[in-house]
C-alpha cells in the first residue's frame, strides 16, 4: 500500500535533484566565485584568515566546468581527491563490480582508509596554511 507513495516520492526527489544540480552547474560554469560577492565565502577563512580544507572548492568547480583542469586542481586538490574517492567507492559498490570484486569496496571502506582520510584532512588543513 505504501509502495506507490514511495515511488512517487523518489521520482519527485530525483527530478528536484536533477534541477538543483543543473542550476548549480550553470551558475558555477558561467560565474567565477573569485572576487565575486554573490558567492558564499568561507566562514572559517573570514573569521581567522586561515584556509579550511574546503576553501577553493567553489573556484575548483568553476574551473573544472570550464575544462581548466590544472587551474581547478590548483584551487583545492582535496576536492579532486575527495571526488575521485566518492566515484571509486560508488563504482566499486555498483552491481557490475561488487559481485565480482567485493574486496575493492571492502578495501575502500576499511579502517586504514578511514584513518588515512582523517589524518589526511587534518594534515592538509595545517599544511595549506604554512
Amino acid at each position: 500500500m505504501n509502495k506507490p507513495v514511495k515511488t512517487t516520492f523518489k521520482i519527485v526527489t530525483a527530478i528536484a535533484a536533477i534541477i538543483i544540480v543543473a542550476v548549480v552547474v550553470v551558475i558555477y560554469r558561467d560565474h567565477n566565485p573569485a572576487g565575486s560577492s554573490m558567492f558564499p565565502k568561507c566562514v572559517f577563512f573570514t573569521m581567522t584568515g586561515y584556509k579550511c580544507p574546503g576553501c577553493g572548492t567553489q573556484r575548483a568547480l568553476h574551473y573544472l566546468l570550464n575544462g581548466e583542469f590544472r587551474e581547478s586542481f590548483r584551487q583545492n586538490p582535496m576536492f579532486h581527491v575527495g571526488m575521485a574517492y566518492v566515484v571509486a567507492y560508488y563504482v566499486s559498490k555498483s552491481p557490475l563490480v561488487y559481485p565480482k570484486y567485493p574486496k575493492i569496496a571492502d578495501a575502500l571502506s576499511s579502517a586504514a582508509v578511514c584513518i588515512m582520510w582523517l589524518v589526511g584532512i587534518i594534515a592538509y588543513w595545517i599544511l595549506r596554511n604554512v
Binding site: S37, P40, C52, G54, T57, G82, V86, A111
Partner: protein, 177 residues
C-alpha cells in the same frame, strides 16, 4: 520495519525468510509463523501486524478450501534454527558512511561543522575495527553514529554558510547604498 522477514510452517516444513506481503498471500490465520523478536512460533492470527494484513486479504480473496493441517512437530524445534538465521543476516558489514563524512567535510566546511565531521570519520573507522573483532553490535552502533554525525556535519555546515552568506549579502548591499 518493512524489511522484517517471516518464517512459516507449510506441510510441516519451515519456509522462509519471506516478506510480510509474501507471507500473507501464502498462509491462513491458523498457520504457525515466526519472526525476529518473537520468543516462539505462534498462529498468524495472534500476531497483530500479520493478522491486520490477513483480514484485508481474506475480504478481497474468496475463502479457499482449508487444507487438512498435517501433524506439527514440536514447535521448539524450529526456534533455534531461526535464531541461527537471524545471526547470519547480521553477517553483512554495516555501511560506514565515510563517503558522506568526506563530502560533508569538504563541501560544507566550516569551523563549527568540522568537529562533527571528524567524529563521523572516527566512527567510520570503528565500524571496520569492531566488525573485524567480532563485535557486530558495536559495529552497527558505530555505523549509526557515523551516519548521524555525517548528517549533523552537513546541517551545521549548511546553516552556518547560509547565515554567513545572508550576512555577507546584506552587508554588501548596505555598503553599496
Amino acid at each position: 520495519m518493512s524489511e522484517q522477514k517471516y518464517f512459516y510452517i507449510d506441510n510441516g516444513q519451515q519456509v522462509g525468510p519471506v516478506t510480510v506481503e509474501e507471507l500473507v498471500s501464502k498462509i491462513t490465520p491458523d498457520t504457525d509463523i515466526w519472526t525476529q523478536g518473537m520468543s516462539n512460533w505462534a498462529h498468524a492470527s495472534t500476531v497483530p501486524e500479520v493478522a491486520d494484513l490477513l483480514v484485508i486479504g481474506t475480504t478481497t480473496i474468496p475463502p479457499q478450501p482449508t487444507m487438512p493441517t498435517p501433524p506439527q512437530p514440536p514447535v521448539q524445534q524450529y526456534a533455534p534454527t531461526s535464531v541461527q538465521y537471524s545471526d547470519t543476516t547480521q553477517q553483512q558489514k554495516p555501511d560506514n558512511y565515510l563517503v558522506w563524512s568526506i563530502l560533508a567535510t569538504i563541501l560544507c566546511c566550516g569551523v563549527f561543522s568540522l568537529p562533527f565531521g571528524i567524529i563521523s570519520i572516527i566512527n567510520a573507522t570503528r565500524v571496520d575495527t569492531e566488525w573485524n573483532s567480532g563485535k557486530y553490535d558495536e559495529a552497527r552502533q558505530a555505523s549509526e553514529k557515523a551516519k548521524k554525525f555525517a548528517i549533523i556535519t552537513a546541517i551545521v555546515g549548511f546553516v552556518c554558510n547560509v547565515i554567513a552568506f545572508i550576512y555577507q549579502l546584506t552587508t554588501g548591499v548596505l555598503s553599496n547604498l
